[in-house]
Amino acid sequence: MAKQNDIKYLSTTRVDRRPKKYCRFKKLGIKYVDYKDAEFLKKFLNEQGKMLPRRITGNSLKFQRKVAVAIKKARQLALLPFVTDLMK
């Protein structure tokens, strides 16, 4: 006695399809990540000044590494904080 709204799917249906993540450096053709541009590097940090993972930024491994180096350099030169609250 199956009712209309009792239909079961074998695989769960995706309700919201997120847009595919992409590496912004590859897309925009940026070859060098500048440590002096603190405002740009802030896009890859969270509120506390921690680096965001690749999972969230969508960077390719190559550029995530370059971003990481640039952020660490900027921190040494006091362009970015090591730790903070409410950065933006």
């Binding site: 925009l28 070859k31 060098y32 002096k36 006091a78 903070t84």
Partner: protein
Amino acid sequence: MATENQTTDQKLQSYELMIIFTPVLAEEEFKAAQQKFSDLITSNGGSITATEPMGLRTLAYPIDKKTTGLYWLTEYQAPTDVNQKLEIQMGRDESIMRQMITRLDKYAVAYNDRRRKGIKLEHTPKRATEEVDEA
């Protein structure tokens, strides 16, 4: 990577130096310090591409109990042994709070060139960077 910059006996490499001086320096002292390190580079066989005194900036965190610093940025080409001499001199200078020497690859040199001309990094079309590759 900048193998094209080869002189008769020594390879020249592009570097970038950023120094944070203490904010207590007077205008002339700041100028004199800049001159001192520029001369140090040129007297050791290097050549300065560009200098940029960024001036007084607030630090992201206090260094030596100071919240501001005088930033000075210079890009230069030098033989590889210059940096060691520079670092010794910078270590002796008490007006320096922080310094960093960065080796620049060809993309970095091209980027700095564009930055000085005032072209924004993020809005660079893909075509423009491909031209850099060929250069």
